[in-house]
């Protein structure tokens, strides 16, 4: 596998993990249109669109939204800096900020 293919695969894997986190948040919101979890899911999907438009199906499904976000961060951190997109560090930052928000929500 070339460096480029490997990087693309990791970006798609991370996007898949983000989508899995968003789906989990959607499920927590249920049928309540005003649920804050739906809002969080939207923020996660927005961020996932910056990572890759072609999310790969995750191979693991941690049991919390925050754990799924952490998995995505770990995957992106596996990309060698100069092989990834120029703004990768900033996308990782966005996911970290989401993680702070989720932790607050999960604690309530």
């Amino acid at each position: 596998m070339s460096d480029h293919t490997s990087t693309e695969a990791l970006l798609e894997e991370a996007a898949g993990q983000l989508h899995a986190a968003a789906e989990f948040a959607e499920a927590l919101g249920g049928a309540d249109v005003f649920s804050e979890w739906h809002g969080l899911a939207s923020q996660i999907s927005l961020t996932a669109a910056g990572v890759s438009h072609d999310p790969a199906a995750p191979t693991q499904y941690p049991s919390t939204v925050s754990a799924r976000l952490r998995t995505a961060i770990d995957t992106l951190n596996g990309i060698t800096p100069l092989l990834g997109p120029p703004d990768l560090a900033l996308w990782i930052w966005h996911i970290r900020e989401l993680l702070h928000l989720v932790r607050d929500m999960e604690l309530r």
């Binding site: 249109v33 005003f34 804050e36 739906h38 809002g39 969080l40 939207s42 923020q43 999907s45 927005l46 961020t47 996932a48 669109a49 910056g50 438009h53 072609d54 951190n77 060698t80 800096p81 100069l82 120029p86 703004d87 990768l88 560090a89 900033l90 990782i92 930052w93 966005h94 970290r96 900020e97 989401l98 928000l101 607050d104 929500m105």
Partner: protein, 469 residues
Amino acid sequence: MSVTTSADLLERADQLARELAASSQEVNQDQWEQFDNTVYRTLYELIAADRADPAYTEEGTNRLLQALRGYPAPLQFPPERTFSVEYAAQVMDLTTEQIRKDIWNGRLRAVKDGDRHVLPAQSVSRIQRGIPPADPTDPHPLSRVSVALGAFADLVGDHHRTRAGVQLSEQTRADTVRRVLALTAVAAQYTVKHTGIEAIERPVLLAKYASTYINALDPSPRRIHALDNLVASIPDGKASTVNQELDAAMHDWRAVAQREVRRLVPSTEALAAVANQGVRIYSVTHHLLQRPGYDERPSPADRQRCSAALREGGVALRDAQLALRGLTSLTVPAHDFVTSSRALFATLQQVRQLADARDPELDTEAAIASLARACTIESELLSEARPSPSSLLHSGLLFAPARRLPTNLERLEPRAKGRFIPVQLNDVPELGWRWELAARKAPEVEATVGHLVVGRDQVELPHGIEFGL
């Protein structure tokens, strides 16, 4: 002998920025200034150091030079450079007449260059004392980023001055500048969170600058650069209460959301996020209105009507959002939009929590008035966004993975190869209608909520909207 290339140093800086994001150490003023100064020096070396002076000082269309000129009033300039009166006026926030007068009166040192005056770097720099480079022995994660970035800038600078090696292509420069801006945005946002409130103005400026120009330098052919450059508006006021934070977050979000929906090919995820943000606004408005103890001025009937309108509007906007699920225009949402969306979401959460706790820090009545304003913003945004999903669909610019769409003969091959294909009208027959309905509902919500706060004068301040006495 060990060899360190500029790529090694940039990679090191990028890696350290990721480590910085994962840490929680406070940043002091010296560490921030060293970083700020190092970033400008790095951008200067990458963009301008090997160019002729006129290209740097005169107006031009080169996007990299525009990015360098856009740097918010650099703390210090490279000592060997001189600057035109026009450029000095821009960075010192003065008119060219004032600069010329100061030169004439001897208040500003200038030298003659042919038939014009130019100003040495020291005359233009905001900080006259020297800013030392970051200490290589300082274990603070921000200092480590500054050291790696500074070493990178030194190497690029040495390359220019010795004229050795190969010239960087414009594409390589742009790519490298975007990397530097990305780690600048990370470090600046980190500093905003980990420094005193009195010292956040400069990091806020740098974070906005970096996010704006990362997008402006995006090589995507679908981006409209001119529009991207229009919105780098930077508020100079600081929010000190949660009510002001709400206004400021809305103000920021409106500017970047408007730009997102006006993009030639808008991001579907951004459009969905605009609709979803509306649901959040309606949700928190609904919550505050229903909160026991809220001022009884609106009659129970008015409140009930408002509650029903908010819920109906919420359902319409959520349906519009969900109609875009799984579809993409393959356009990446801009960083500043992602940041502003998250910031508004977080602020709305905070407002809701303070209301639940009946915290006196929150002025509930003012918050409801602000949310009424947010309903207006949402209505305007949806009105602009309404035709976009259908336009994307009819232009063949709305895609989905073939495996997610109904199969027919033509789709067998792309499905087998895991490709994206354009979505057809019969794949998403309700898409246009859902957005039409959302755009019709939003003004109804706006009118109903606005009815509750009528009579309050709104004043636009640097941090957003406030209400007059």
